[in-house]
Structures are given as structure tokens and as C-alpha cells.
Amino acid sequence: MITFILNNKTIKTDTHPGTTLLDFIRYTENLPGTKIGCREGDCGACTVLEGTLVDGKVKYKSIVSCLTPLGNAHGKHIVTIEGVNLKDLSPIQKAMVDDSATQCGFCTPGFVMSFTGHGLAEEKSTYNKAIAAISGNICRCTGYKSVEKAADTINELLKLKDIKDPIKWMVENNFLPHYFLEIGSRLKEIEVNPTFKNSSKIIAGGTDLMVQKPEEIANADLNLLYNRTDLKAIDEKNNSIQIGSGVNATEIMNSSIIQKHIPDIASYFKLISSQQIRNMGTIAGNFVNASPIADLSIIFLALNASIILKESNNKRNIPLRNFFLDYKKLDLKDGEFIEYISVPTPKKNTKFNFEKVSKRTHLDIASVNSAIHVTLNEDIIEECSISAGGVSAIPKYLKETSDYLQGKKITNGTIIKANEILQQEITPISDVRGSADYKRLLLRQLFFAHFIKICPTSITLKELLS
């Protein structure tokens, strides 16, 4: 029995946990304000809020209901546009009206929900954060300029919010109906006891499987990891950072532990899908989907991550770079799942950089992406790990190139020579994301970009091209 609160109504249902939350909302509960645009998380028309009880408080985030298996809603508060409507317009809705941020209206409820999620975040509002909140919402009519104005208006209003208790503040200021104040105590009554089922169809955030195999998920015996709190931790111990497999991309980019070692992590993660998807998709999910272009795989390959695989009581620890065997083939046995990821704590004098180019800079899949992690001793490269996606059948650890650079002095000549080795290591193919020639050239450029960013004084585009 899946139990959750949908707006102000407690739902108990025997519907299959692999049904999409979107279909359940629209066609079982007859709440048509949540729209269907693409069913692959790429338009945001179906955005809803998910509230989770954490240490007695309800924390909300935006998610796309098209990729949420209904089972993931268990124990949560799910909020649709109908659930935020008051007698009068909320200040968010009013801003959208006043700034004419809606034309055909089909994407609009999704924008309202994303902005409302931004209001509920326990952090100070800024304009950039308000925009990031709608980074997964596509509008084909307005050209977004009016939406930007609405975001500005909304941000000005939300600057005043109490970040310690945004729910109360939002209710008191007529952003939300009163029933939100009772949700915490109502959620406590729902038993959340996710048990590990020994079926093989593991699903976490759903952001890949619900796109690739929705029919299969709708019928399979599912092992839902999404609500497993034991897989959610990020810890630093014994010279390594341990990241639970169920940690999502938002949690990584906001983690103070990760930020301490990779200060620019948030700017890199901003290039990965959208806020809604980052709120759902897990690190392990990104690894096991085995896409040769998976952003997190590329980032964690360069960080020399290991994964700890678990099957019943057996555990094994393998380097991530050995996990990918061939196109969509993994060193993963039946019944095994990733329990956590272990990253050696970066040394003080290391630098990290991530580059990604896609047709559209945000909310797109890379044509080529690449990460680098170097330890420098003045201008000598002590250690170096470089990875690249979209240039091979697997997310590629560029071993030859990395090895070559080890111990070398950083000069334009070294980088040029290293690129020659790099070009030998890759085997890009032509597809919808670009021709093989483009991907070769692009990876060269991203490889150059790493060093131009890391050593802007000694490495320049002009020198590299001469």
C-alpha cells in the first residue's frame, strides 16, 4: 500500500509503484493542472513539489512527476498546482500575471510550482537561484523575458522570507494554504519503512529508467531505493569522501564537504540537467546507466572514485574506471547494487575542472564532456587524472594521456604533445550529438580549456594554436 499526502488529501493506493506519479495525479486523482509535455523530464510542465519529513521538519523540492515512480511518493507530501491555489492569487501567481509571464499557459503550472519550490527552500533567495529553480521549465511562447521579470519580482518578495521556517512564512504571507502547517504531523503518521526487496529491478530517482523503460517499470517488481535514508550520507573519513549511492546531484553540489574540496562544484553541476532532475537523479544511477556521456561518471572518474558494490552480505570495492567494460556493459553482477562511492580526499594543491559542451548549454546531454584532477607542485604535474565522455563506448578514463602528463612541467608544448596522445586514445563515432571529427576537435579544445583555466598565466589559447 503506497501512502502519501497529495495536496491536502491522504492517499492510500494499491496502484503499481512503477506507475508514473504524473498519470496518477492526472487520471486517477483527476487533477489536470499538472501537464504532460514530454514524459522524459525535459520540459518541466509536470513539475510538482515533494515534501519529505527530515528531523521533524518538512523539506520541499521540485521534481518532475513524469519520471517519478508512484512508489517514490510513499511517505511524502506531493503538491500540485491545485494544492497551492488560494482564494486569491499567491504572490508568485500574481507576479506571473503582472509580468505577463504566460501566453498559451500550458507550461505555466510547472513554472508556478518551480517558483513555489524555490520559495520553500531553506536558503536566502537570490535572482540567480530563482532562475535556477525554473531551469527545467521550457516555455515555447514567451521567449522568457517576461518570465525573468516575474522571477525578479518573486525574488524581491522572497528575500524577506524566514529561511529557518519558510513554510510558516509562506503560509503567513499567503503564498500557500494553511493546511501546509499540518503536513509535518500528518506525515509522521505514515509508516516509512522501506525494505530491501530481493528483486533485481532496482530503481532510485527514476530519471533514467523512467525515460528508457517506462513500460517495464510500470509492470516490474521494483526495488525502490529512493527513500532509503541509509544511502543518503556524505561523510569524510580516513582520507576519503564517502557518498551514499542514493545521494542526488543537488545534495552533492550543496554538500559542504564536497564544496570544501571542489569549491566550484556548483557551477559544474549547473551544467548537469535541470534543478528538478538534479533533485531526483542519484550518483549511482548516473554510473549504472552506463551512458558514455554521463556527467557524474566523468567527474568521478577524474576524482579517482571507487565504488563499493553490495550483494546480500558480500561487498567488493572496485575503481570506477574498471566498472565500465564496454558499451552499456558493467562489471555488475545480478543482485549487486552500489552501496556507496569512495573518493580519495583531494590534496591541498590539487585543481579540478569540468568542461561540457552541448547544443544547449543547460539541460542538455553533452556532445563531449571532460574532467581533470591535477596535483601541482609549482609548475610540475605530480598527479593527473583526466576523463572524457562522448568519445568512446564508455565514460573514458584517459589513462595514456594522464600517465604522460605525470611528472611533466606544464608548458604549452607539453599540452600540445599530450593532446596527440589523447587523440590516439579516443574512438568517437558520429551520431545526433555530433560528428566524430567534431568530437575529436571539441575534446582537444576542452583539454586545452582545462589547462587555460588551471594555469591562465602560462597556458594560452594563442600559444596552444601556434
Binding site: G33, L89, D98, Q103, I138, G143, K145, E215
Partner: protein, 750 residues
């Protein structure tokens, strides 16, 4: 005035087709489309699909009681394929099941054997094999052949532009149910209610009065629901009629993308000749339009390409030919601009090529050749109130174009990793359906006893704000509070024989019909008021809901007036019929006066390239636009912004990719990218050109939907300019869209 729909939109209460509460017993349909791009159907085996629990029926062309034909202009398109298939996704069967997922699942169980035939995806190849949808057409003025010898410079080149997926966020869909008397009612997400009605009647062999089509609103359309909503409405109607059940069909995004047509790709050759003083003397082009597998609206789109092939310029000698080529792609269709963007891209490319070869700024050639008052368009119409030069001059006065160019040059001198480019995009766009008979509309206006007003027209609200403009017209004519006025759904039983809401004409045509109906009502009500005040009708007027007697307020309110009129048995319902005057066109001569008026404007677009990564950011789009006397600046500015961004999308990231075998590769939102909030220009500044506005525009407020789309074309030339700043070896080429891939390859081409 704000768009009247916005409050319902932000509360999620606006109802689209898929939101209509379904009747008990509703069944769901999914389309089985051809897996191959071209071939003969050898065997179609439905057995396994029919065995799937929950499948009720699978319909093929054999089940069609009427004619299996939905071609609008030319009858060359079956609703369901019979012996041959002509594109991947070509509808063959309609599966009806208890729910949508069963219906979709069943389509996968249908077995088909197809004897494959040669697949053509390229229009030039189709042309070589004489695969044309219709005979070619040529527009001529002056004598090109004689004039080449008088040109000081002649340049030739090739131009390609890609397609464009409409990506309305609401996919195609319809909900249909049987009514009594053997009738059916169709709710359709269509721009053209009558077209759906006509085709469904044809398919079902019913007279049109048995088919009622109702359209509440669309979740975006952009031309994609002008002709191509029809098949899905017809399929729902067919299933509903045969099974006598309510049927819903909502296309899955993946089906919508691979089954429906898009903006036409064109491949063109041009030759341009200039005099020493940079006047364009002669221009010749052959354009190969990729029409897809059936003609759909291609003939009309071809026509608009011809009309706009000289862009915003006067060229005394022109000869333009368009070949509409038949290929094995989904039938390409209407999309904002309707062939004009493709035409304009060619003339702008020709000018860019000339400028590049002559080593001068493209702007210099542009500004010496703008169309002026009393110049003749190549189709015979004389330019009147030609606002091209005024819009350009206003832009120059406001923004100092040479100064902007210098800023860009200065930036480029000092920057290696980033380069800027700037381009001017002038627009001159004709307003009217180019097929003259379509320029008519009707409005049905009821004034209810309580003084509230209900208006029905042919206009379909799809985000462009036409309903709001209709309210404004009625409120202005009747001088009542807009809150009293409701715009009803578009319904063929209330307003018949309608033109689709398209060609930017929705407000002009329907608004004028409303104006006529309301004016007639007003005259009648003045008589009533005159009776009440014992005076003559010429002595009364209505202002802000109060009756005036010799310009003085009386104590008669609007409500009192209506109540009295009703009791006096005055007819409170009126019909307005509007047909655009003046326009005509003679196809045998390809000359006439096809447009009520033209819309003009100038855009200045600036881009910054990241020369390491090949990516780009648009800083700035500065526009001077000829709105006429805008009746709603909020809506009109919104249309400009949305159109510009869509135009930039077409010129840059939006890339429709088909494999050689006719399969769509950019088949989802993860492989086909439209602008998101981060990719739009940081600043879009719109300045209205101060003009009176033409009489033929509704309240002198010019049509707005399409013209600003073409400002986006400037994005292509801004990028090209910036690439040349980094790589002097780069000779301009014209192959839109300018994706990051193309940019990077050109930045580093030898």
C-alpha cells in the same frame, strides 16, 4: 490590458483537450505508424495486437466509411496508408484500447512486412528524379538575364536551411464522442476548426452539419496545428463513429515528433548582381523546398517564400523559382513565418556573400537597398506606408549602428578567446492569407439579458492573446467594462466556414467581424435609448456603461438599457461578417495586390563566441518594430520576444536531423533542443516605430504573430561575422542552423 486568460493559466484551471472530463466508457487510441520511410505494404498482421487484453479494435483504411483523403490544398494524403507508405511514422492503423498504455503497447505487437523502395530525404535529389509535389512557380520582375551584363559585381552561392520542430508543449490531440442523430462532436487542439470538420465529414461520409468541432484553447501551435491537428481528430472521429464510444487520442511526445511535419528545409542557389554604388541590380534564385511525402500546406508555403524572396529590399530585376520537392519525410507544414523565413535567409545570405567578397560590412549593402515608398514588389503590389527606412533610421538614431559596430571591432582587437559579431536584420512581411478567399471571418455576438456579452468567432486562442484583443474591440465599440465580455470556445455550430487562425491574421479578421457585429448592436441599442429618452438616435451615445444624451450623462445604465431592449423585443444577437477589401492576386500572371499591408522592422543582434569551445551567447537584440498603433502593447511585446527567441532557436540550436533511411534522429526533447531560459538573449529591447497604423489593421494595430520571428535570422549572420574575426580563412557559408558543432568546425577550418 492583460491577457484575459492569465489568471486561469497560473492557477492551472485552463482546460486543454486532455483536461476535458471524460465520459464513462471512454476508450483511448494510439497510432501505428510505418517503421519504414518508403515501401509497399506486403502484409499487415494485427492478430497479436488484438489478443492483448484491453484492446478493443484496430482500425485501418478499410474501416473508413467515406473517402480516405485529408489533403487540403491537393488531395494527395490518405488518413491511413493503403498500399504504400511514404515516411517513417506514416499512419497505418489506429489501435483502440481501454487505456492509453495498452493502446501504445498494442502498436508494438502489430506485425508488418514492407517491401522497401528507394528513400529520398534530400530535396535536390527529389528534384533530379522529378519528384515534385506540384509544378514549380516563378516570380519575375524586370529582366534578370539582360541585366547581368550591367552588373559590376556578380556573386553566386548555395544556401541551406534546416527544418524546425514546433514543439508546442501540448502535443496533438483530440477527444471525440457520438451525439444523437448520427452526429459526432470533436474536441480538437486545432488552429482550424472548419478544416477538421470538413475532413472528418469526408472521412465519415457525413454532411458537415453532423460534425461539430469545438476548440477551447491550444497549448501552443505555431502553425503545427493548422493542418496537422486534422489527422488525429479524424482518427478519433473514425474510431468514435465506428465503435459509437467516446475516444481520446493524445499523441505521446515521441510519436508527435516523428509523425508530424515541421518547418520546411530548403536548399537554394542564388546569383546576385550589384552596381558599383552597391545597388542590387539583379537577383536570381532557385529554391528546392523539402515538402515531405504529401503536399499539406507546401503549395501555400512555397507561395509565401516567393512573395518574400527579396526580403526587405527593392530589387528591380528578379527571378525566383521554387520547386516543391517530394521526399520521404513527414509532410512539412506551416510554421510561424510560413516560408518567408526561408526566402529571407537566401537574400540575406546573398548580401552577406557579396559584402564578404567586397570586404565591406553587410550593413552597407542592406541600407542602400531597402524598399521605399512606391517601389514595386516583384509580385506587382506597390509599397505604401513603407516603413522599412523609418524603422532603420529610428534604430540608427537610437542605437548609433556605426558606433555599435565599432564597439564590437574594439572588443575583437583586444580579445582572443572571445569574439563578438553583430548583424542587422530587416523585416518586411505581408499581412493577409495569400489565398484571397481565406481572408474572411464571422463573429456571433450575444448580449444576454443581464448585460453580459458572449462572443464566438473563428479565432483560436493559442497564447497569442487574440481573445483579449477581441474583448478589447467589443468593449471599445460597446463602451462597456471588459469584464462583461466572455470569448466563447471556437465552435463550428456557432461560427461556420472559418479560416484557420493563422498567417498572423486572427485578430485582424475576427476582430473586424466583432467590430461589425458590435457596431450593428450599438446602432440598435441607440434606438432603444432614444426611445427611452424620447429623442433621436443621433442624440445618444454610450460611454463607460452610461447612456449619454447630447453628451450629457443620463440615468440609464448599460444594464437598464439591455433590460429595456429585451422587453422591447429588440434583437440582442448579431452576426458580423468581414472580408478584407482591396486584396487580389492573379496566379496566371503572378501579379496582384495580395496583402492588406506590410509589417516592417529592424533588429540589431549581437553575439559573443567562446572561441575555445565553439559556444555562443546572445548579448543583445535591439528592435525597432512597426506595430502600427498597438492596441495591446503587453501582448504585442510578448509576441515579439517569443518570436525573436524562436527565430534565434531556428538559426542556432534547433537542428532537425533525419538519417538517410528517413528515420528522425532528433526525435525527443533530449535530442532536439529549443531555447531555455539560460540561452535567450540577455537583453531584448523593443522600440515601437511611431506610426498611425494602416486602416486595414484592427484598430490600426498591425498583425504581430509572425513578422518578428524573422529578426532571429540575424543571429546566423552575427555568428558568421564573429567566426571570421577569429578565423580569417573562414569563407562565409550558409547552412543554418549554426549549431555549436558548426561554429567550432568553422573556427578551426583551414
Amino acid at each position: 490590458m492583460k491577457n484575459v486568460d492569465t489568471i486561469n493559466h497560473v492557477t492551472g484551471k485552463s482546460i486543454y483537450v486532455d483536461d476535458i472530463p471524460v465520459q464513462t466508457g471512454t476508450l483511448y487510441a494510439a497510432v501505428f505508424g510505418s517503421p519504414k520511410a518508403h515501401g509497399k505494404i506486403q502484409n499487415l498482421n494485427l492478430t497479436k495486437a488484438l489478443e492483448l487484453a484491453g484492446v478493443e479494435r484496430i482500425l485501418t483504411y478499410k474501416d473508413i466509411p467515406g473517402r480516405n483523403q485529408i489533403g487540403g490544398i491537393i488531395e494527395d494524403e490518405a488518413l491511413l496508408a493503403e498500399e504504400e507508405v511514404h515516411f517513417v511514422g506514416h499512419a497505418i492503423a489506429v489501435v483502440v484500447a481501454k487505456n492509453e498504455s495498452i493502446a501504445r503497447e498494442a502498436t508494438k505487437l502489430i506485425e508488418i512486412e514492407i517491401e522497401e523502395l528507394e528513400v529520398i530525404t534530400d530535396p535536390r535529389e527529389a528534384f533530379k528524379k522529378n519528384q515534385l509535389l506540384i509544378p514549380p512557380r516563378t516570380f519575375k520582375m524586370g529582366n534578370v538575364e539582360n541585366e547581368w551584363k550591367n552588373c559590376d559585381f556578380i556573386f553566386e552561392g548555395k544556401v541551406d536551411n534546416g527544418g524546425q520542430e514546433h514543439l508546442y508543449i501540448e502535443t496533438q490531440g483530440s477527444y471525440c464522442y457520438p451525439m444523437d442523430n448520427g452526429s459526432i462532436k470533436i474536441h480538437s487542439s486545432t488552429q482550424g476548426a472548419t478544416l477538421v470538420q470538413k475532413m472528418a465529414a469526408r472521412i465519415l461520409n457525413l454532411p458537415m452539419h453532423r460534425v461539430e468541432v469545438d476548440v477551447a484553447r491550444l497549448g501552443g501551435a505555431f502553425g503545427g496545428k493548422e493542418d496537422q491537428a486534422t489527422p488525429y481528430a479524424c482518427m478519433a472521429a473514425l474510431a468514435s463513429y465506428i465503435l459509437q464510444k467516446p475516444i481520446k487520442i493524445i499523441l505521446h511526445r515521441l510519436d508527435d515528433m516523428h509523425m508530424t511535419g515541421k518547418r520546411h528545409p530548403y536548399s537554394s542557389d542564388f546569383k546576385i548582381g550589384l552596381s558599383k554604388d552597391l545597388k542590387i541590380v539583379a537577383f536570381q534564385t532557385n529554391m528546392y523546398q523539402n515538402g515531405g511525402a504529401a503536399s499539406d500546406l507546401s503549395p501555400a508555403i512555397m507561395e509565401r517564400t516567393l512573395f518574400h524572396s527579396t526580403g526587405a529590399y527593392f530589387i528591380p530585376n528578379t527571378e525566383v523559382t521554387v520547386y516543391s520537392c517530394k521526399t520521404n519525410l513527414p509532410p512539412n507544414t506551416a510554421f510561424r513565418g510560413f516560408g518567408a523565413p526561408q526566402g529571407m535567409f537566401v537574400i540575406e545570405s546573398a548580401i552577406a556573400k557579396a559584402a564578404c567578397e567586397l570586404g565591406i560590412s553587410k550593413r552597407i549593402i542592406q541600407e542602400r537597398n531597402f524598399i521605399q515608398e512606391n517601389d514595386t514588389f516583384q509580385y506587382g503590389q506597390i509599397a505604401k506606408n513603407a516603413n522599412m527606412i523609418p524603422s532603420y533610421k529610428t534604430a540608427d538614431e537610437k542605437y548609433h549602428i556605426e558606433h555599435l559596430e565599432k564597439e564590437v571591432d574594439d572588443f575583437n582587437v583586444n580579445s582572443i578567446e572571445n569574439k563578438k559579431g553583430m548583424a542587422i536584420m530587416p523585416v518586411c512581411f505581408g499581412i493577409s492569407f495569400t489565398k484571397t478567399p481565406m481572408n474572411q471571418a464571422r463573429a456571433l455576438v450575444h448580449i444576454y439579458q443581464d448585460g453580459s456579452v458572449g462572443i464566438s468567432t473563428a479565432a483560436v486562442e493559442m497564447g497569442q492573446g487574440v481573445n483579449t484583443k477581441l474583448v478589447q474591440v467589443a468593449a471599445k465599440v460597446l463602451s462597456i467594462n471588459p469584464d462583461r465580455i466572455k470569448i466563447e470556445s471556437t465552435n463550428t455550430t456557432r461560427v461556420a466556414n472559418t479560416s484557420p487562425t493563422a498567417a498572423s491574421t486572427g485578430a485582424d479578421l475576427n476582430g473586424n467581424a466583432v467590430k461589425i457585429a458590435c457596431t450593428k448592436l450599438l446602432e440598435r441599442l441607440k434606438n432603444t435609448a432614444a426611445n427611452m429618452l424620447s429623442c433621436t438616435a443621433s442624440e445618444v451615445d454610450i460611454k463607460d456603461e452610461v447612456i449619454l444624451f447630447n453628451s450629457e450623462k443620463s440615468d440609464i445604465t448599460w444594464e437598464k438599457l439591455i433590460e429595456t431592449a429585451f422587453l422591447d423585443r429588440v434583437c440582442l444577437t448579431e452576426n458580423g461578417h468581414y472580408a478584407t477589401p482591396i486584396i487580389h492576386f492573379d496566379k496566371t500572371k503572378e501579379k496582384g495586390h495580395p496583402f492588406a499591408y506590410h509589417v516592417y522592422g529592424t533588429a540589431i543582434i549581437t553575439v559573443t563566441l567562446d572561441c575555445i569551445r565553439g559556444t555562443y551567447d546572445f548579448e543583445d537584440v535591439k528592435i525597432v518594430h512597426d506595430f502600427g498603433n498597438s492596441m495591446n502593447t503587453i501582448i504585442d511585446n510578448g509576441q515579439v520576444e517569443g518570436a525573436v527567441v524562436q527565430g534565434i532557436g531556428w538559426a542556432t540550436m534547433e537542428e532537425v536531423v533525419f538519417a538517410k533511411n528517413g528515420k528522425l534522429l532528433s526525435n525527443s526533447l533530449s535530442t532536439y533542443k529549443v531555447p531555455d531560459i539560460y540561452s535567450v538573449p540577455k537583453n531584448i529591447e523593443i522600440t515601437p516605430l511611431k506610426t498611425e497604423g494602416p486602416e486595414l489593421a484592427l484598430l490600426r494595430s498591425k498583425a504581430i504573430g509572425e513578422p518578428p520571428f524573422m529578426y532571429g535570422i540575424g543571429a546566423y549572420f552575427a555568428i558568421a561575422k564573429a567566426i571570421r574575426e577569429f578565423n580569417p580563412n573562414y569563407k562565409l557559408d550558409f547552412d543554418a542552423p549554426f549549431t555549436p558543432e558548426k561554429v567550432l568546425m568553422r573556427l578551426y577550418s583551414k
